[in-house]
Each structure stands twice: as C-alpha cells, then as structure tokens.
Amino acid sequence: MIHSLFLINASGDIFLEKHWKSVVSRSVCDYFFEAQERASEAENVPPVIPTPHHYLLSVYRHKIFFVAVIQTEVPPLFVIEFLHRVVDTFQDYFGVCSEVMIKDNVVVVYEVLEEMLDNGFPLATESNILKELIKPPTILRTVVNTITGSTNVGDQLPTGQLSVVPWRRTGVKYTNNEAYFDVIEEIDAIIDKSGSTITAEIQGVIDACVKLTGMPDLTLSFMNPRLLDDVSFHPCVRFKRWESERILSFIPPDGNFRLLSYHVSAQNLVAIPVYVKHNISFRDGSSLGRFEITVGPKQTMGKTIEGVMVASQMPKGVLNMSLTPSQGTHIFDPVTKLLSWDVGKINPQKLPSLKGTMSLQAGASKPDENPTINLQFKIQQLAISGLKVNRLDMYGEKYKPFKGIKYMTKAGKFQVRT
C-alpha cells in the first residue's frame, strides 16, 4: 500500500517526508518534478505517475503537492482519497493547511501521520479518534505545554477505536447542548451565449455541528425527501432506515462533520437565480475591444444575492483593460490575463455593471475566442431546490438540546459562455 509520503511546496522543495515501510529515497520525486515541468499548470500534473520502481500518486491542495509513493498494485482512488483525507485532517487540526502551518506543527503532523497509517494501510482516519490520540494544538495548550512540559499526546488510551461507533468518543460533556445543521446547495450550470441554460444541476450537502452530551441518537426528516436523487452519507447514518422511511437516523460524531451530500434529481428544473448580460467584442484591425457586463437577479424567491464575484480568463491578446464598475472593485492581472470583479450584493433597482475597453496587442489579429465568465454568489436562507427539513428529534438522552437549521444557496461551477 502506501510506502511513503512527500510534501512538496510550490517552489519544488520537499519539506516533509514520512515513510511507513522501508525508506524510499527522496530522489524518487525527481520523476514528479519532471512531470510537473511538462505540465503547464499545477493542476495538470497527472495524479498517477509511473516510475521504474514506484508509482507516484499525488493530490494538489492548498498549493502543496501531497505525493504518495507506492510499489504495488493498489486502487488509485484508495490512495487519492486517503491523501485528501490527510489534508482534511490537517485542516481540521490546524484550521488551515499550509506549508507554514505544517512546518510549525511538524511534530503533531508526524504523530498524526503515524497514527493514520500502519504499514501503509489506513488505521485511524476518523478525526475524532485521531483527536483523542493526539490533541490538536491550541494556543492555550501550547502555552501550558511549554510551561508545564505536558504533552499533546492523549494520556488516556483511545477507546474510540474499539467502540461500535468509532466516530464518536465516549464521555462527551457539554453545558450547552446544541445541534446545528447547514443545508448548503450549490448550482452547477453552463449558460450559453444567448442566455439559455445548457446544463444545470443542484448538488447539496448538510454539514452539521453537533455538540451534545453523551450518546444522543438523532433523527432528521425532510418535508420533501423525494427531491434527493442521489445521496451519500457519513458512515454514521443508518442506511436501512433511509431506504425504508427516508429518514436520517444516526448517532452523530462530536463536532463538525458532513452528514450528507446529495444530488437533486435532474427532472426538476433548476431555477437559475442570476443572469449575466454581456457584450464583449473585438474588432478586426483595431487594437481596442469593447467590454460590458451586467449582472442581475432572476429567480431568487425574494432573497437578495450576495457575495457576487465575476471572474473571467481573458484571451492572450488582451494587453490591458480599462473598466469602470458601477459598484464593487475589479482587478485585471495583465500577466495571467485574469479579470476578477468583486461585485458584492446585487441591488435589483440598480444593477451592477462593468464597462470599458480592452486594449489589444497592436497588429495582432483578433482572438478567436471569447472568454467565459465564472460566477460566484451566495443566497442566504434559501435552498434553491426547495428542500426543507421537517423535524429533528433526539433519543437516548434526557436533556433538551438547542437545534438550528440554516439554508444557503451558492454558485458551484457556474459558467457563462460568451
């Protein structure tokens, strides 16, 4: 299985290595660097690179390459999924997963990695169990540790690994018992030139933050569970219950976790909450082009659209842009040719627009292609699919928890072709 792990930063330094079997020389990464050089961008580095004696499987996140070295046949997704889990764990531990953070906490990182794999086979990947084994560093603990010389390694033994509910540790205690659920939906869409929808689908997740004492057993039911077409669960969810009653029944992990991710069936027409009016034109022979974008609300169910961001990769021929936004700020990076416009809130009375000219390379012919526009936005208090949570009940514990549900709609991969 997984032999070794190398972490490589953007400038090509191997800043951490960990071996679970015999040591693999870090020179094996040369093959990776070669592939990296061949690929123009970091995201184009092939995730699987065969070398004469090893296979390098990598994921790229937070500007760090996590390169796993394997020697024998193993399902590639197994390794890739694990690497992502490693990143998630680091994020969970340190808040952010960055080179600096990893270097600062190198000992904790090392201890965590040691626990996650045994001989290259995943041992403990549940963050609950890991946190029981190795406590995440907090400022307070760091201070205390330096003074008293105590440790972040859990002194009690990790019982979680032995329990039937490995994702939950025993003896959880809170004074305020609360359970929050965020229903977050993302719209993936491709809108064509004329404004008609080529493809649109809704993907949703329910993220939970559960801080409940003891061993609560929760059930969550929906008003309209039929909407959910394809679901995937946190392992805590009882699948049979869902199959028969369409009810989510589970003993929750402690803290933050993703309870469910779902896909809304394709039959339902997706309401597209925004529209983009665009007029981008290059003229032959002229070194100037016109650029005009207006963003407006469409089907928003009366909610305001916030956090609107427009990004567009301009053709190589564009040298510079002189634009004036009606609101928000915009940046054009002449090197990467990336235009981004932070719009903010959309006021239906006064639609935000960005107008101006583009200066093109003199003498060059006009670019064939028009840029695509990528859109980001957020709508609070709305699940665009219409999904509604019916009720949340708790069994197994006596106290009355505080419950909360929040809805949000976001743009996923929302693209407008021009």
Partner: protein, 1113 residues
C-alpha cells in the same frame, strides 16, 4: 533539480541556507541545525532525568526526520528511552525506532524486550501498540519473535489486538517471505474472525501474502458479504476488490445468455436507443435455445450487499462497488452505478481523473448506462486539460445518432477554446464521431474543412490529419476538399499535416489530375528543407504520379529521387532506392516492376478511429493497472468467468455452514434494523429489482428438469438414498453418471434437512449443526477465546485433514481411502455400474465395495474430484497393486503411492485413471499439494488432480488423476509440489493398465480374432499375433486362479467361452481403442498356450510377457 540539491545538502549535514527552520513552535524545538555539536546537546538532553528535556530533544529529532535529515547517530541515546514513562516521549521514540532500526539492527535489539513485555500487558491497547511497533522494526533477526507475537495476538481476546496482528502479517511477510506458510495459517484463522474490525485488515493481509489462495475464502465468503457494510471504509475497498476476483472464479457469468448477442450489440454500438429493448427480446428467444441461467444466491448476496455502499462518502469505496457491478452484475443491473460515478465527478480533480478513466472504459462497453448523464460530462473552461480530454473521450463514446447533434454543438464551443491541446483533441473527437455515425459524416467534414481556414496552425494541422482519415472512407465525392487542401501546402508548416496532404494527393491523384503534378513541383523545390515524414510522403507522391501520369512527372520524379538519394536520413535514402527500383523500368529490374501500380495504388482500408480505452476492461476496473493500461507490480489478473460452474462440491459444501448460520441470527451490526435480517436468505428471484432475473428463473422452471437440477445447487444432495438411486437406475437416463456424481458432490441442502437422513449422514450433520450452534453463540461475544472459534469454524472447513478426522468419527466401515473402502452389498455397486461404460463381468467377488450411500457420504466430504468416484466405482480389486511414487524419506515425510484404479477416468475416456494416495507422515501440515509443470512426452497428456489445500499430520488423502499414455509404457514425468517443496516423480504404467475391458460375445471375439490375424497375414505373420507356450504352476491351474491372475496382470474383461480349456479375454487400449484379444488354452498337464492378438505389436509382446509372468509366478 532544486530538491535534489536540497537533499544532497542535507545529507552532507550542512545547515541549509534558504530553508526556514521550524522554529516558531516551541514544541518543535526552536532553531537548530544538524550540527554535530547540536547532536551532542541532544544526547545530553536525552540522557537527562527530566521528561520535559527528553521530550524537547525527541521533538527536535522527529522534526529532523520529517525533513529527511539524518539522525541515525543518535540511535543509542534514543533507544535508551524506549521504556520512558512519558507517553509522548515513548511515542516519539517509537517513531524514531521504526525509522532507523533497519540501519542499526544490533542496537535495535536492545528495545525488543520492552515490546515483548508490552505484548503481555493486560491493557489491549498497549498490547496492540507493542505489536505494532515490534512488527514495524525491520530487523530480520527478530522474525521468530514476530511470528510468535503474531500468532499469539491472532488469538487475543481483543479484536483490536487481532486487527493489529492482521496488520503485522504483511510486515513480517515482506521481511521474510519464507514465513508464508505459517502466515497463511494465521490468515486463515483470522479470516474466520467475525468482527468487523478485523475483516478489512485480514483481507488486506490475504491480498498481500497469498492472493492466490482463493480457497481460503470459501468458508468466509458469506460472512464477509454480510459484514461488509459495517467494516471501515478502507477495509471495504480491499474486501470488495478481492470478492470481485473471487466471484469471477466461483459463479457463472450472468450475461452468458447474452454472449451471443454481445457481437450484435457491439455492431449496433452506435445504433439507436432501442438496443436495450432489442436485447431483451433477443434474450427471451435465446433463453429458449440455451440453458437457462439462474443466478447463484451467493452471487446475488454479493451484489445486494455491496449496493448500499454506492452511497459511501469515500470515492474509493464507490469505485470499488462500481467495478464490482461492472464485472459481476447482469447487464440489466449495471446501470445503478452510473449515478454514483457521476456524483464522484463533483469531487477533487484527482478523483475526477481516475473516475473518468474508468467511465471511459465502461462507456465503450455499456454506452446506454451513461447516456442519461451526458450533460454531466460537458466541459467547463475551468477544468484542467487532462480532465477536459477525458471528458471528451467519454462524450465521444456516448455519441449516437440521437444525441450527436447536441454533442457536435458542444464540440463547436470547445473548438474555440483557448486551450489548444484541448482543441486538437476535440478535432480528433469530431473525426471519431464522423467515422462512427454515418449520418453526420458530411456535416463533420464540412465543419472540419471550415477549420482549415482557422488562424491557429495547430488547429488546421489537426484538422488536416482528421480530414485525411475521413476522406479515405469516401474519396470520390470529395475532390473539392482535396483540391482545397492541396492549396494549403503553401501555408501549413506542421509536418504531420503537410505529410497528410501529400499522401492524400498521391492517393487520389486521379481525382485531382491537374493539381497533383503542380504540388509535386512545389514540393520538389522545397524538398531539402522538409521534415523527414514530409520527405517520405513527397517520394510517395512522386512514385504514384509517375505511375499514373508519367508524362508530366517523369522528370520531377527523377529529380526528387535524386535529391532523396543523398539525403542525410537513411530511411529516406532507402525509400528512394527501393522506389526507383520498383517503378523505373530498367533491364535489371525484376518482375515486380509490372506490379508497381498495384503495389502503390492498391485500395487501402480506411483507418478505424477508435478509443484508446477500447479493451482496457480486461484489467480490473479501478485498479492502478487499468489506469496505466499496463500491468502494475502485484496486479492480480481478473479471471474470466468459468465456462461451467466450478465443481459445486467445493464452494457449496464449504459455504453450507455459513448458510445455515444465516438462518440463525447474524451478528447484529450497528446499522441493521429489524428488517435487516430478512435479506440474506432470499434467492435470486425474490429480488424485487431484478425483473429480468425473475423472468429467467421462471423460464428455467419450465425447461427440462435435468437442466435445472444441474443448475440449482439446492438440488445437489448427498442424502440421496438407496431407493432413489435404484429408481434412477431404472430410468437409465443417459446423464445419470454425471448427475449422480453431482448429487453426491452437492452440498447438504435444505432438502436434506427436511428429509430424514440415514446412516452416518445423520451423525455428521449433527456435528455440523453443533458447529453452527457454537459459532452463532460465539458471535454474541466476540471476546471469547478465538481458538475455540476457529475450531467450530473448522467443522465446516473442507481441508482434507478435517475430513479425515470426521471420517474417523463416522461409522467404522467408512475409512479414509477409497482403496480401503470395503464391505458392502454387492448389488448396489452393480446398479451403479450399469449406467456407465459396459463393465466387464468380473468374476471377482465385489466384497470390497461399500454401500453406495455410504460412499456418497464419504465422497461428499472430500473436496476433490474424487467425489465423482462413487458413481464410477467399478471394478475395484482386492489385489490392486500399489506402486510407490514418492518414498517417505525422499519426500521428507510425505509418502505418495499410486495404483491404477481401473475406473474409467471421468473427464477424458482416453486417459488412464491413476489413484494417488498421499500420506503426511511429518508433524506439520502440508499445504497446497498439487501437480505442477507436467512434462509429458509428445502426445502424452496429464489431467492434474485438484489441489489439496492442506493435509494434517498423520492424515492420508487420495485423489485421482488421469494420464493419457498414448498406448506406450513410457513414464509420465511431473512435479509434485507442496507449499515448500517440489518433487520430481514419474509414473510408469504396466502394459496391462493401458487398456480397458471390452464386453463381447464368443462369436464376436472369434470374428475379431480372425480379422486381426488376417490383417497380420496381409503383411507379415506375427505382426498381430503373439503366441507363447508356458507351464502353469500347481497353484495356478484352477479356473478361478487363472482368471484372477490374468485380470490382475491386465485390465481385461473375460469373454464367455464354450470350451472348458480355453479362457478368453478382451480389452481395448485406452488411447487408440485398438482391440487386444487374449486367448489362453490349457493343454494337457500343466502346459498352456497363450495367444495375444493385437494391432499393436509392442503392446502385444509386452502383454504376453506380463501375463506369462503373472501365471507362472
């Protein structure tokens, strides 16, 4: 290479300059460099009494290790702290130890005792952690200690410790592969473990150590299926992948009825949507013709239990289930995986990359599956190029007549993308669509021609290449396009495109008679500056023009060929020389000249544009090998479906206990709700979602009963009693032998439970039930000692060893080897015999034949093909001679004897059945006994006996193998292998064993004899008749004695004879079937004359010798 430098710097021990230190966290030890002075400082800290100082030092050391710096010189100082009280120090010491123990083996030994102590700790977590570290220390000297620790931990009360033991197995195996056999034992034991915690880890160990030992899975198969949903996700992946392989060997293809259709479906690949419905219809008709397929309930169990895992959040699990369905599920059910796979496309780009690769392969085979999700594969400008190209691949695979217009519209957008690699791939994709879907070929071609005026040269070049391929399909209609392209030669500089244009013009020069010479003229001008591939095509063009239009192009051609003659590239020089010889007629030029035109202007088949993912599905999907399209190290080939259901006696029998167990309460998993239990025992047809399944089963019920009986394992029943067998015999069905054997081989099924069971059967079953009872009660408390667990599990195990012991428990008459199976009513054996090859009327008392029901009892117990034996239990002689194959001494305790059982060999009538009896006189179990590398002489064939999994000390197993000796007494050589050793052995048959008795009347005998002797006269007398005079000894003068001697010397049947003083025997040689006739004439006194008539002189001669010897002795 920056990293390489950094590495060498660090190796050198110098403190690297630019790299920031891990100094920000006080816990990680402030600023330090790998100075040796600093190391002294660390040593001091490690030697101090304060834990905080030790911790500080250890943290700094671990930080060094993390950065890949060498800290091995601190080993002695660190290892002292292995017994430190502080838990974090201890952990960090472990980290250090595991990293450097391999380099400092001697010093590492100092720490071993600490772990050994830890192994005995009352706390399970400490035991586990001690084992974990101990097994991670790669020091070969401690292999025995590790082995002992693993063995002990494998029977630990705590499942967590057992899990750790399972993890330790591959570690030890990689350290010392000689331990394999012992480790397999441990694996076997742990496989029987019923906790979800252990399951994943032990299957992992199984896959690393002995993936070929598929037999170990039989008895755990159902348990694994049922536990699967509660196993942790990583274990699920491993188990599902393993079970996919397993199922491929154990079940029949669910699509076997459709295999005929496969071809037609393939053809209709780009056909319409109705394909599916057509399939269904055709399926229905084919069902009438073919044997109906009924899915094995165990096969169904696997499919049903894995399906929920498609909902897993872990992409690897989803992929594993998807590949399982793709490889194992009936066509109609595979569709469910599409949705889940499409969901994964939302995940990280690396996951997308892998999933798309697999979808691409699947979409070639099962296009319909992904059609509804076509839009999910639309490409976004933000996708990385590698993802875009894969999506394009999938879209192209999904294209058909109905959706092609939408897809082409999408492609049009893509062509305008900024990503040029992607645009090139899109053009290729359009070309593929155009070749595959005739309807849009013209549209595509027009589109591509428009692209020829694109400003980007890469786009144009790619278009030219694709257009060239398309034009080849119907050149006549497109001379316009060819003309257009001819003009492009002035502008396009991309060599591949230029070469393509030139080739086109040359190939279709009759369509552009005016332009072609002109192009050649231009090219001749620029010849020296062209790339090699272009030059080659210029030569080609010149040659073709010379042949079609020599008037205009003769000089040009000469010129080009002259230029080429002095080219730097030898390929071009070669080509020029070759072409000159071929096309320019000279006096010397040979006959080929006449055919030059045919050679150059032959009709060339249009290239087939096909996906690079075609046929990748011979790799197991989801595997690394599939992704790389090359076999990765350690890849386990996905076996093909067996043509016939594997001998049902093997898996079925062994699965039986677990099936019974299923009826009892399955260990209640955390998830399962009340309804959860209803599932597992349903058979295939009760599955609601598989409608097609249902229709299949119902149709099978209508069909001939014999067919369905063979199919349904439930009907195979060893409780078949005497009466029934008699009835069967009366029916005299032709199939009887096979069926009887199947029945005897089948597992004790539900039917058996209902019926009253007879004789030893009952006892055995009780034991078995008891076994099940034990196991189920144990399930409740997994913490109970696992040794007893494995015992009860072994009740169901079919390792011959256990069978042996069981047999001993059975009634006295049932003894291990068939040779020794004696005493039983005679008539039954005869009843059996009637159904097969005509048995010789043996005068030998058949006292050595067991009551058939008992035999079936026994045979049901064995794992091997001998289960067929009872049916064939024909003439067994008291006086069968055994020969030694392997002596106890040479075989290191393993002794092997063989005898010629004189039964027809069931699998092949041309083979001689050789019964082999293997006894294990060692004090260790012998495993995986098998024949390997038979090296038969020409024409000789060996049918190996099925592998014996294991043979307990002191036990004996007997198996049957078949050898086709080709009617010669040459020895058959082969290797007998155990898990550890190979023995070269050989079997040399006495001539008398190369024949089988023939039943004939006196008249027939005489006729044949006459015929044979006449045959001989035609050539030479004595060719077919050998006569020998002999004197019979005293004790061998009675009828009985003579007959017995002759029949024991040779496998012949007696022919009734009118005369008192004559004995006649007849036989046929096994391979060629030529007759062997023996006549023994008693003369006065002790004199006698033996005559053997046979076409085969050698056999005749040897036979005479053998018989004489037998009689005279």
């Amino acid at each position: 290479m920056a990293a390489g430098q950094a590495y060498s710097e660090e190796k050198g021990g110098s403190s690297s300059l630019g790299e920031p230190e891990y100094g920000h966290d006080p816990a990680s030890g402030g600023i330090f460099s790998s100075d040796y002075k600093r190391h002294d400082d660390l040593k001091e800290m490690l030697d101090s009494n304060k834990d905080s100082l030790k911790l500080e030092a250890m943290k700094r050391i671990v930080a060094m290790i993390a950065r890949g710096k060498n800290a091995s010189d601190l080993f002695p100082a660190v290892v002292k702290n292995v017994a430190c009280k502080n838990i974090e120090v201890k952990k960090l010491v472990y980290v250090y130890l595991v990293r450097y123990a391999e380099e400092q083996q001697d010093l590492a030994l100092l720490s071993i005792s600490t772990f050994q102590r830890g192994l005995k700790d009352p706390n399970q977590l400490i035991r586990a952690s001690a084992l974990r570290v101990l097994s991670s220390i790669r020091v070969p000297i401690i292999v025995p200690i590790m082995m002992l620790a693993i063995k002990e931990a494998a029977s630990d009360m705590s499942p967590y410790v057992r899990k750790t033991a399972a993890h330790a197995i591959p570690k030890l195996y990689s350290l010392d592969s000689d331990q394999k056999d012992q480790l397999i034992e441990v694996i076997e034991k742990l496989l029987a473990d019923k906790t979800t915690l252990v399951a994943g880890s032990v299957v992992m160990a199984f896959e690393e150590v002995c993936p070929e030992r598929i037999d170990l899975i039989h008895k755990n198969y159902r348990k694994l299926c049922n536990l699967l949903i509660d196993v942790e996700e990583w274990g699920q992946v491993v188990i599902i992948n393993m079970l996919t392989r397993y199922a491929r060997t154990q079940f029949l293809s669910p699509n076997q009825n459709e295999s005929l259709l496969e071809d037609s479906a393939e053809k209709a690949f780009y056909g319409s949507d109705e394909e599916d419905t057509k399939d269904d219809k055709a399926e229905a008709t084919s069902l009438v013709k073919r044997k109906p397929y009924v899915m094995d309930p165990d096969h169904r169990l696997l499919l049903r239990n894995t399906k929920p895992l498609l909902q897993s959040r872990n992409a690897a699990v989803v992929m594993a289930v998807a590949q399982l369905y793709f490889h194992l599920a009936p066509k109609a059910e595979v569709g469910v995986i599409a949705k889940a796979l499409v969901r994964l496309l939302r995940s990280h780009s690396e996951v997308q990359y892998v999933v798309l690769q697999n979808v691409a392969t699947m979409s070639i085979k099962r296009r319909g599956m992904f059609e509804p999700y076509l839009k999910s594969f639309y490409i976004r400008s933000t996708d990385p190029t590698q993802i875009k190209i894969l999506k394009l691949e999938v879209l192209t695979n999904l294209a058909n007549e109905t959706n092609i217009s939408t897809i082409l519209r999408e492609f049009q957008t893509y062509i305008r993308s900024m990503d040029k690699d992607f645009v090139a791939a899109t053009i290729q994709a359009i070309g593929r669509c155009a070749t595959n879907i005739g309807k849009v070929r013209d549209t595509c071609l027009n589109g591509l021609v428009q692209l020829l005026s694109n400003r980007d040269e890469l786009v144009v070049a790619e278009s030219v290449v694709v257009i060239k391929k398309l034009l080849q399909m119907q050149p006549a209609q497109h001379s316009e396009i060819i003309k257009h392209m001819a003009k492009l030669t002035d502008n396009i500089q991309v060599p591949m495109a230029r070469a393509s244009i030139l080739w086109l013009i040359g190939e279709y020069c009759e369509h552009v008679p005016k332009i072609a010479p002109d192009v050649l003229r231009k090219m001749a001008k620029s010849f020296t500056n062209e790339e090699d591939i272009v030059k080659l095509q210029v030569i080609n063009l010149a040659a073709k023009l010379y042949l079609t239009n020599s008037k205009q192009s003769k000089l040009l051609t000469q010129y080009v060929l002259n230029l080429a003659k002095y080219d730097q590239n030898y390929d071009i020089r070669d080509r020029a020389r070759f072409i000159r010889q071929l096309i320019v007629p000279t006096e010397k030029s040979g006959a080929l000249n006449k055919y030059a035109k045919k050679l150059f202007l032959a009709q060339k088949p249009a290239p087939i544009l096909e996906s690079s993912f075609k046929d990748r599905d011979h790799f197991q999907l989801g595997s690394l090998s599939h992704l790389l399209n090359a076999k990765a190290v350690g890849y386990q080939e996905l076996p093909d479906w067996p043509d016939e259901a594997p001998d049902p006696s093997v898996p079925e029998w062994t699965k039986c206990t677990s099936r019974e167990k299923r009826k009892e309460k399955v260990e209640k998993p955390f998830y399962s709700d009340s309804e959860g239990e209803s599932g597992p025992t349903e058979s295939a047809d009760s599955e609601p979602e598989s409608v097609s399944e249902e229709s299949e089963t119902s149709s099978s019920e209508g069909s001939s009963s014999s067919g369905s009986e063979e199919e349904e394992e439930g009907s195979g029943d060893q409780s078949e009693d005497k009466e029934e067998e008699e009835k069967r015999k009366k029916k005299k069905e032709k199939e009887a032998p096979r069926k009887a054997s199947l029945e005897s081989a089948g597992s004790p099924s539900e039917e058996e439970e209902e019926e009253g069971v007879k004789k030893g059967k009952k006892k055995k079953q009780q034991q078995e039930r008891k076994g099940c009872g034990e196991t189920s009660s144990e399930e409740a408390s997994a913490s109970e000692s696992s040794s007893s667990e494995s015992d009860s599990g072994s009740e169901a195990q079919e390792s011959p060893a256990e069978v042996e012991t069981k047999r001993r428990k059975a009634p006295a008459s049932t003894k291990p080897s068939p040779r020794a199976t004696t005493a039983g009513p005679k008539e039954i054996s005869l009843l059996d015999l009637d159904d097969f090859t005509p048995p010789p009327p043996q005068p030998v008392p058949s006292s050595n034949i067991v009551s058939s029901s008992l035999v079936t009892d026994l045979e049901g117990l064995t794992l091997t093909d001998t289960s067929l034996a009872p049916a064939l239990l024909s003439p067994v002689f008291g006086s069968v001679r055994t020969y030694e194959l392997l002596h106890r001494m040479t075989g290191e305790g393993l002794s092997v004897e063989y005898c010629f059982s004189r039964r027809p060999f069931p699998h092949d009538p041309h083979m001689v059945a050789v019964q082999i009896q293997i006894s294990n006189n060692t004090d260790a179990e012998v495993k995986s006994l098998r024949i390997s590398e038979p090296k038969p002489l020409s024409g000789m064939r060996i049918q190996e006996f099925p592998e014996i999994e294991s043979l307990a000390p002191g036990d004996t197993a007997s198996v049957v193998m078949g050898i086709d000796f080709c009617d010669s007494t040459q020895a058959a050589n082969f290797q007998l292998c155990t898990h550890t050793r190979h023995f070269y052995v050989s079997i040399q048959p006495p001539v008398g064993e190369l024949m089988a008795p023939v039943f004939m009347s006196e008249n027939e005998f005489k006729k044949e004899q006459e015929h044979l002797s006449r045959l001989g006269e035609g050539k030479l007398t004595g060719m077919s008749e050998i006569t020998e005079k002999l004197t019979l000894p005293e004790k061998c003068r009675s009828d009985h004695a003579i007959v017995q001697q002759v029949t024991s010397a040779a496998n012949v049947g007696r022919v009734p004879c009118g005369a008192d003083n004559e004995y006649r025997f007849a036989a046929k040689t096994v391979t060629s079937g030529s007759l062997v006739l023996i006549t023994l004439e008693k003369r006065e006194g002790a004199a006698a004359q033996l005559t053997v008539n046979s076409e085969k002189m050698v056999i005749g001669t040897m036979l005479v010798k053998d018989i004489v010897q037998a009689l005279v002795q």
